[in-house]
Every structure is written in C-alpha cells, then in structure tokens.
Point group: D2
Chain length 405, copies 4
C-alpha cells in the first residue's frame, strides 16, 4: 500500500513519467511553523546531479504545497504536496521493451498488475521517494522543535570499503568464545557526534575522511568499468524520548525495519549490535544500568541500539541498512525476453553507478516518519493515563520504583 503510519500518515503517489509525484501527509500536529524551504533542503539532498559521482540529470524538484497550511502554520488538516515531473511523456517504443531488465521490477510489476507501463517497474523507481523525503522532512521538523531530536545518516560502506567499526587489535576467530565488542570506542564516538555538515562535507556522504576518499575511488572504478556498486548507510537518532514503540508487533525496531526495507534496493537491516550481537556472549552484550548526571537511568554500553523490548530507552537509536549494487549498468547482459527468447540487453536511460550517497536523506526521512508516528501513539497513552485517579492499594511488587533524584 502507499500509506505509511497510523496517526502521522503519509500517502505517496507518482511514477517516472506521470505529471507529478508527491504525497498527502495526514495527521500533522496543528500549530507547527513550516516553510517550503524546510522540505526543499532534503529534496535537494536527494536530487540526482549533485556531483559527478551521480547521474548527470539535473532535476529541479521544487516542492509545491497544496493545502494544510495558512501563513506558514499547519492547520492540522492534510498537507498535500507535489513535485512536477520534467519528463512526463511515456517513452517511445524501443527494442528493449521486449526484455524485462534483470534485477529490475519490470517482470514482477507485470506479474502483479498485468499492465505494462512505460516505465517498466512503475513505482519501484527512485523517483517515488520524493514524496517520502518531503513527508519525512515535516516529521523531522516537528521532532526537532518538540524534542530536539537529531537524525543523521551517512554512508558507512561502498563495496568492500567500510568505515572501521571494530577495534583492529581485537582477536576474533571461531575457536575463541570471546568476541570483540561490536563497535569500537572510536566508532561509538562518531555515532554520538556526527552532524549533517560532517556528512555533506564529502561527495560520498561518508564522514570518515580516509574512508571517504577510498569510497570515491571505488565508485569511479565502477563507473569506468560500466558497472555499479552497492553500499551501506548507517543512521543515528539522538534525543528520542523513552517509551516509543508498540508491543508486540509494532516494536520500534520492527516498524523501523519495515520503513527501511521499503526503500528501493535495500537488502538488509540491523540495529544496535546487529548481526555481530549474535556472536557476543550475554555477559558482554548486556547493557548495565547506571545513574546519569541528571538522576535518570542510562546504560553504559548501548548494544541494544536504544531499544529494549521494542521500546526506546532514551539512548541513541542507530542502525545500518544495506543497498544492493544498482541493477542498471552500461554493459550488455545476456538474459531472456518476456517470451523466453534468449538475447543480449543493452542498458538504456540515465543511471548512478552508486546510489548510497543519495539514499542518505531517504533513510533520514523514513526514520523521522517512524519516530513521529510512534511518538504520537505514545503521547496518546500518556495523556490518557495522566487523567486517571492514582491507585492507592497496590501490592509491594507493583509499587512504582522510588523516584529518581
């Protein structure tokens, strides 16, 4: 379906060659000061043609707000917005129409809908993400104003080039039951401090200087080889309130995984210690509690990734997302036509050798949508409970723990 969220609901529309792409955001809190520029800044980061690492297409992608605001203030009613498509003409017939493109959605869209659209993969085009990014920018704007939430995504790997994650001196072989800590102290520092300015300082959107340079070269090599290369994006959400996430099916990480895997070309998601967390014994993996300076409870480590039992605990939420190598490449591929006839397919159209730098604002947008929706659900519960008379007859086991001071 094209709708995401329960209280803060986003419905997107549009494909590559129609009149416009966009979204309706329903359920935005009223009284939020919002300018088109708050949205445009993230659309610009998503836009192709920002560097010679990405496709040369120069889309303007200006957002047009249709409703839901007056004098720059949200009314609480649906905010509709759209971005015009520059190239609205369905493409002309060509020989390549005989072929479903390998690892594209041409074949599956045809199997699903039974209609052959000009754009082949229809809504699986990256163009569709315009509506998400715009909607996410609104959610993020709220989260920042209301809770000081910070969401920063960055490129953590391109091909086999990774920002170093674990301590290189750690011993890690299968014969040894010990395992190194999932993340080095240096990497944890990066997570807790990285800013969008740090990220945008590099064309690759990797804030780790040496790695950024190696990634850039890897992308250039892919382009030179008429090939493509994938990568991963890591994202951190800071200052989230505790209590977000709805057990049992809408745990914070479950909804987050849903949101992230809905982004085109994604293949994997891990949060906190992720796949490495399965290799570390419980005695090391457990996040012990300690008193924070402000008197509240915090955890010393954060292998939980800010979530326990599906509910945020006030620590940073961080996660990593895998993007496959783009399916469109500038070399011939031996494959089959729709009718099974074998043949060679030459690429058509514009394409990026590596999409992960442009994926950064999309990941941030989806993270914001998840946090915003789960925040609004939790606010409802808290407000409802706050109106109840106190209970005076509880047994000792249910007595609330002593107030922190």
């Amino acid at each position: 379906m094209s709708t995401f969220g329960k209280l803060f609901r986003v419905t997107t529309f549009g494909e590559s060659h129609c009149a416009s792409v966009g979204a309706i955001i329903d359920g935005c809190p009223p009284g939020l000061q919002l300018a088109a520029e708050d949205i445009q800044v993230q659309l610009d980061r998503r836009r192709p043609g920002q560097s010679d690492l990405t496709t040369p297409r120069n889309e303007k992608d200006r957002v047009h707000l249709q409703s839901g605001l007056e004098h720059g203030v949200t009314l609480g009613t649906p905010i509709a917005l759209l971005v015009r498509n520059e190239d609205q003409r369905p493409h002309d017939y060509s020989e390549t129409d005989l072929y479903p493109r390998p690892s594209h959605a041409d074949y599956t869209y045809l199997e699903k809908y039974g209609v052959k659209a000009s754009s082949g993969g229809g809504r699986s085009s990256a163009r569709e993400t315009v509506g998400r990014v715009a909607a996410g920018a609104i959610a993020e704007h709220y989260l920042k104003l209301a809770h000081g939430v910070e969401i920063v995504a960055f490129v953590s790997s391109v091909g086999k080039i990774h920002i170093p994650v674990t301590d290189p001196s750690a011993v890690d072989d299968a014969d040894n039951d010990d395992a190194p800590e999932p993340l080095s102290a240096e990497y944890r520092r990066l997570l807790s401090t990285v800013s969008r300015a740090d990220v945008d300082a590099h064309l690759t959107r990797c804030p780790h200087v040496e790695t950024a340079e190696r990634m850039k070269n890897r992308i250039i090599r892919a382009k030179a080889a008429s090939d493509s290369i994938g990568g991963t994006v890591t994202c951190v959400i800071r200052n989230l309130p505790t209590g977000l996430g709805e057990p049992v099916f809408d745990k914070f990480e479950a909804v987050l995984a849903h949101a992230m895997l809905s982004i085109p070309a994604t293949k994997g998601f891990e949060f906190g210690s992720g796949f490495r967390g399965a290799e570390v014994p419980g005695s090391v993996h457990n996040d012990k509690f300690s008193k924070r300076p402000d008197g509240s409870l915090g955890t010393e480590t954060n292998w939980s990734g800010g979530v326990q039992g599906g509910i945020t605990n006030g620590e940073d939420v961080y996660f990593r997302l895998s993007f496959k190598s783009p399916a469109t490449i500038s070399q011939a591929q031996e494959t089959a036509q729709y009718d099974g006839t074998p043949g060679s397919l030459e690429a058509r159209g514009r394409h990026d050798p590596c999409v992960v730098p442009r994926a950064v604002p999309i990941v941030e947008a989806m993270a914001a949508l998840v946090a915003m929706d789960l925040l609004m659900i939790q606010k409802s519960r808290q407000a409802a409970t706050a109106l109840l008379p106190p209970i005076t007859t509880l047994p000792p086991t249910m007595v609330m723990p002593p107030k922190r001071s």
Copy 2:
C-alpha cells in the same frame, strides 16, 4: 499494537503470569479443514524443555480452539484460541524487584506504561509468541494446501559457529573489486532442499551435520560459563506465487522485516544477498532471466531473494535473522537499581543459554503470516481485474508481452 495483517489478521494477548495466552485469527478463508493438531505440532516445536540444551521447564501448552470452526472446518469467522498458563500467580516480592534487569524490557515497560507488572517486561516475554506460532500454523496450513508453499527455517549460526555460506576458496579482500558470490553452490542447494525433518534431526536445529555438532558444544560451553550465546536463523519460503507484496510501503521484504524484527531478541534481518549484496558489483549481482522448462521466466541466480521491486518473482524467498545472546544469565551483574543506586543483581527464574533452536518455529510462523496476508491482498486485485473487459486500443509500448509457451 497487538494486531498483525490487513486481511488475514492476528491479534495476540497474554503475558507470563496471567490466565492464558492466545490469539484471535480474523479473516481466515472459510472451508479450510483444520485440526488442533495442525497447530499443536508447531507449538510443541516452540515449547521449552525439549532437550537439555534448553530450559528444563516442561510446559504442556495445549491449544484450545474457541470459535470459528465446526466439525473441523473453518467458517470464515474469527478463530480464537488459547493456551493456559501453568504459573498464573504473580510472583512474590523479592529483592530483585529493585533492579531493572540489564538488556531486559523491565525499564522500558515501566517508562512506557508507568505500571510495574510482576513479570517486569510484560509482553516482551517469549511466552507471548505462543499466539503467533498458533496463528502462523493456520496460515501455513492454508498456504500448503492452496499453493504447495513450503516454509523451512533452521539455525544457521550459534555465536561464531556458522554453516559455511561462501566458497572457502574465494578471494575476498578490500583491495580487490571482485567479490565472491554471496552464497556458494552448496549452500544454495541446502536452501532449495532442506526439510523440517532435516532440521529437527539435530537438537540445535542446524541441518548441517558438522556445524550442528560444533554449535551444540558452543551452547554447552555457554551454559557451563553461566553465560548465554546468540545466533542466527535462516528461513526459506518455496513455491510462493509471483505478484505478492504491495508497493511502495508494503513491499514483501518490508513486511517480512517488520514481522521478523517483532520477534523478541532479534537484532538484524537480511534477505537474498543481504549485506553481502552491497559488496558485489551489479554485473555479478543481477539475476539474468531464462526460460524455465514450463515455459515461464525464471532467474538463473537468485541474489534478489525471490523479490524484485518489493514483489515476489516466483523464485525462493530466503532471509536470515539475528538473535542477540539472551539477557538472562546465571551470574551476578554490576548494574543500578531503579533509583540509580549501584549494586549487584543475581539472576532469577529459568532461562535458556541459547534461544535460536526454539526460535525456528516462530520464524516460520511469522513468515507464513506475511505470505498469507499479502497473498490475500493480491488475490483481491487479480479477481477484480479479471472482471474487466479487455482493452483493445493500447499503444505498442503497453501491449502485453507475448504469452509464454
């Protein structure tokens, strides 16, 4: 929320110390022959106490069907089912009530709900999964009868002990742009043939004989060390029809990720080539098409994991899920009380040193629920389109590809 699905909807209830746990399954197709035993078999595989690798608690966990069936046939009305809790008494007050258990949900449940339950983490208990497994067994039963769908999950790693996935002879270093194929031919063979009997032949539920033995020893070492260890579960879904998955937010893999990350203790999810897919160039990663014996299109490789553009393509869907090391361990932990006072917490209660073998039927259940719901949505679209008159005036680009023969 405690409801999963749009047309085939499961709502679960229950925590550790209440009268019963269970579920209502709403939207099950009528006319399905269903016996309690079809459900019980998976509940028994989920049940603790099946071996000395797991907790000695011997729950009986008999399912009691309440409604929605007559003479063993589904009526199409809600199927309610419940499993009684043996231990219904809230526990007595103890010194450990002062402490939120590290990496458990005690602290976050309290932050979220503001009520201190006897069971601490409330619905984050593994006991909650009873309802899912029962509901999933019904979905799976339908999928098998209607489409011959096979769902098999198995333990693919415990700690650092993994079933070998890639060809050990492959060169894989960061200085080399080439990358080995994400999965070896042998492993792909395993995925396409593994059965539940193969899986249950080992206490560890790992169908790879040598690895199974090493895993068993790893679990025994964890137990001996009063510690715990995590692992991964891999699952394959075979014979799924094409066309399942709802662009753009409810792509097959997105809903699958949602379902999987809603299982307690999970930290990561990848499908198809997963995180490895980001390291392989597009020219290698693309799944080229070829004609199958029956005339339809298939792909030679399947790095896509059976899904393209969020829609199933008829190839096997396979994915891997990471489970952290259990938080409950039999050793003292230095942590803090609710009020911030530092102290040492001794474990209480029964616990598994490793939960992944028992997670196998839970993963299968959630996979079945995802496939079932998305199947029913797609059935609606197909049936609706089938009633429309044919269109005779399409331009060449929209003309349907020649029929396969």
Copy 3:
C-alpha cells in the same frame, strides 16, 4: 472485520455453538483500576431471561479475564476476556436445515462464506454482542473516571408506541413552512437528566412511566400473536470533552453511525435533530452561542446533537437507533428452501418478541467505544501540539480569539 477502533481496539470472536465468545481489548490505558464486576454489570443487563418480556433462556454469562491486568490494575497490554457458551454442541440435523430463515442471515452467510454452519447466521447471532458489551464497559469505566462521562440509553419506542418527542400543540403540516422544534422542552429535560436507574426501573427500559406501560402491553400482544415487534433506542452521552471526531471521514457522528449500524437488527440512525432537522428552516435550526456560567461558550439549543463539523462541541451528544422487528417468530412462514422449493417453515429455537430492552447496554457499549477511541486520537494531537514553541508572527485573521474568562 471483527476489529473496531484505531487506538482503543476491540476484536471480538465467537458464535452461538462454539466454546466461548469474547474479545481482546488492545490499547487500554495502563493504570486503570478495573474489576470483573465493572464488566459483569453490563453483561447482566444484556443477558436474556431478565423478565418474562424476554426469552426464558437463563445464561449465566460470567466474564473470565485472561490477561492485561494484575492486582486489578490494567497493564496497558491486551485485555482478553471470554464468556463460556452453555450450549456448545452444534445442533442436530433437522428438517428446517433445508430452509434459509426469512430475514435472518442464513442465506447471506452461505453466499458469503460458502460454508453452512450449524448456527446458520453465524456471527449475526445476538450472542456475538457479548464481547462488545464487555469491551464497552471497560471504555465506559475509563471515560467516567477520567472525564465524568455519562452514557445512558433507553427504549424510546416499541412499535408505534413512542415517548412523546415534540410539543403536541405544535402545528406541523406540509403547507406550513414553519416546523415545530424537533424536540419539546420536556423531552430535552429527559435527555439531560435520565439515569440508568430511571431506565432499569421498568422492564421495558423506557424511563417515561405512561409510555413504559403501553410498551409492555404492546410486547405482550406481540407474544400472544406469535409475532414480534421492533422499536427504537435513544442514547445520550454527557460530559464529553470538546474536540472529538476526526475530519473528514471519521467525523464523530460517522463513526458513531458505523458503530450503531453494526449492532444486529438495526435499520436507522439519527443524531441531534435527525430526520426532523431537514424540515426546520436554518434560522430556527441554528444553535446560537452564549456564554456559560464558567465563561466558556455553549449553545442555547442543541439541534446539532453535540457535534458540529464532525467534532464534539461540549454539548450533550444524543442519537436514536431503529431496530427492526425480530425475524424469528413462532408462526409458520411461507417461503422457499435453499433449492427454491416453496414450503412452510416453522420457527425453531428460543426468541424474544422484542429485543430493544436488551439492546440498551449494547448501544451504550458501542457509544463508549466510539468516544474512547476518538478521545485517545485527540489526546495525541493535543499533547503533540502542546510541545511546540508558540508562534509570534501570525496575521490578525489567525490570531487566536481572546481567552474566555
């Protein structure tokens, strides 16, 4: 579907001859003190066999709470509850199985589900309402504690016997453009003061003494004639906060109508001035504002029924619901068998000549569910907006109206 609500969600299960009927209530605010008795009291009012005006069947209908509470306090987790069916055996084959009962759901259930259940109309049985009444009692309990909300329903007509609604002296003919006020001052007084004690003082649950007696006789006459008779139930909700109802599709009255028409045997719904409101000129129908003693705005009349633009305005919400005459009657009916063969069908089973007295708690339950869910949605919005910084640059038209004092 068997689920109602978005944040306070009720899912019911069960039909006449299965093991139990019941519900899961998901999303109940935590920290609510709740006893089984708070629920039982409404189940008892719904129960048949309370008088010789209704069916002699004496069901015990004890509610069994399964989960979601500890020491009588809600945990915020799903509350499952069930009521056992006394008569769990599917009935034996009988000649009447050849006939779909006229104006029952036997025929449509068969058309819909393609499975012939013992109970014929399956979930259309009044037995299904047990789950609603129990869930509604929980919602009502919250609403009363948190906002002092009062919900009172009563029988306003049986057959052609109505509580007098308009002033009998008013002229009301089609040639005269004037129309009497939709409700007399006396009736409005009844609405604003009627209590459950007033209602239960009469077997017919009509709080208007003379009318109650006439209704009773009408029901007795129906029974004597081996026939049945319908009626209407009127309900008032007092002390609802302003701001409830979600434009545009989930206006308060729209969700209320949905809830009410989901009750078996209902045929019509009107709120406020209802159908009479269409006959009164706007100059009379408009509810003019005036200052209330507490400084807030109120309306002098309340033809709007407490709702304007789909949102509650703080005045009493009141509405009326029509129930058809019960389809089961103790006389032979000339009709056709499933295969079209004409024949005469004799009634089987127990039945009420008039169901409206027992419908009273069902109407109250559904009203509570609607108010509760829309309240929780609005709480979320208010809490979210409350966190935003004030806006200082509004144009005069958007400046908030002066505070009431």
Copy 4:
C-alpha cells in the same frame, strides 16, 4: 482521518482557500480504461452554479490527473488528482472573525486544532467533497464495467415536501398494531427503475414530477425569506453481487452509514424499512424467499434493503439520508463572540438556500466507495477459498444446500 477504505483507499486533501483540493486513490484495480471525463461528469453535477436554485458562484472545477494512468489505462498504482481552487487567498480580516458562526464548525475546529484558519471550519467546507466525488466516480466506473452496478440518488424531500412513500389509504395509528407496509408499491417501482436522466430532468433532482415542482417553490420561498431549508436524499444501488459486507463491525450497512454520515450537514441515515421497520410486526417485515426465474433465491419483499446480517443478498440496496438546513443564512443572528460577548452576526460569503440537489452526486460517490471496497475484500476471500481442496467428510448439517437449477 482523511482516508476511507481498506483495499480501495481514498485519501482527500484541501480546504476552501488553499491551492487545490483533491485525492489519492490507492488500490484501484489495474487494467481499467478511465478518462478524465468519467470523473468530470460527476464533478460537474456536484458543482455549484448549475441553476438559480443554488449559489451563483461559477467554479470550473476541472480535474487534473497526476499519476496512476498511462494511455487512459489504470496501472494499479495510486491515482492522484486535483482540482485547483479559484480563490486561493486567505480572506482579509473582518469584523465577523470575532464570531464563531452558529451551527458551523468554526468553534469546534478551533477547539480541536487550536489554530484559527481563514476558512473557519476548515475541512468541513463543502469544497472538501470534490475529492470524494472524483474518487467515487472511479469506483462507480469499475462497478459498472465489472458488475453492471447502477447507483442512482435523488432528492426525496425538501423541508416538509416529500415524495409520497406509503400508501395514503393505509390506516396508521398507535392504537392499531397493524402498520402499513413501509413503502408503497408505486415507490418501490420508482426505486427499481429511476435513472440519472430522470433525476437530472428537474433542477431539484427529484424524479417525482409533482413533488419536484413543490420542492422548487419551497426552496424559492426559503431564499426569499433569507432563510434555508434541508431535505433528504434517497439512493438505490442495483445489481450488487451477494456476499458484500464484513461481519461484525464492517457490516455493509455499518460502513454505508459511516460513509454517509461523513458527508457534511447530514443528520440521519436509514436503509431498507428504516425507522418505519421498527413499527411493523415481524410477520409482515420478514422477506420471504422465492425462486427467481434464473433459479437463484430472491425475496418477494425487500424491507431488508438488500442486506441481511450485514451482507448483501442480491436485492437492491436502498437508503435515505437527512441533511439539515444550511447554517449560512442571509439574516442577522443573535449569538455570542468567541469571548462570550453577545452580539449580532450578519452572514458573509456565498451560500445555497438548499444543498440537497447538489448532494446527490456526493451520496452516489460515497455509495460507490463503500461497495467497491467491500467488493474487493470479498473477492479476496472467494479467490482464497476457491483454491482449497473440497471437503468430503462433512456431517449432514454442514452439507451445502442443493445447487439451484
């Protein structure tokens, strides 16, 4: 919320003074031939300024399709459409801003959202219905092509001027237990034959010639008196398949009531025998079955209004909807300002003395949306059940009734 439907989902946006109003229709079956004109025809019927009985404003209201179609064929992806607002400027400050207009939504919108919009009642404006009518036209287009469904609404009363419904010779007093049939034979003939051409033959959209003339005069009198008058709209849906409607909360009539009461200014809904059905004994009210010429079962009478147990039975669905007299009138009203100060408010802006003729296409649109969504849900169930193996061991009571011939 601004979304309606579960599989065929409509999300609308827009208020009076923003850039545009419109909708996204998600879940439309692919392969449907659809032209803008199919939508425009109903928008034109909704448009004000069609006669001197309605407001003189002449909006052009051209629909602009944004996505989801190629070469006039639906792709199965979201169809976005918009209609530009001619008057996009928020109005200037005026003295009337001090007053909440009586029986408008100015006060409740302010209570709900806490933001004072230029248009006062925000989305409660009739302008919002543009998106519904457009979406409904698409649904209706499908229903007609796939099932030959016909939806015709008409004005059945204005003020106290009604199309005669019951037989005038029938005796109907409270002292007589008999009641006339809810609808005369003549009226039932009208329901089964009335066409849109019949309806549009009269400015009042009343297809009953003598009544149409009297209604017209009633509206002229209201205008002359600077007043307004309400009315009712009756709608019939013909050729609906059996089996639509989802027990228990989404019965066909419950969803229909929800949809209808979400239309601005509505106060009541009844279907089939409606409120009259409560006065007729069961022996008369029951719809006896008989064999239709084609061998299927039909009912001789249709007091059920085409629905039994919440599920369509193949007979005509018909219902009636009440619209209050418009709140905007051209005369001064004694009321209070936001701060409680009493005063006299003069009307501003354009307004209709009677809105029911224009409501006709809105009622048809919402009826189409309900039927379409419930049809798609039922299609899913049927398709799912059709794949199951037959059951050979049923007891006699569950054996399917003999096939009709």
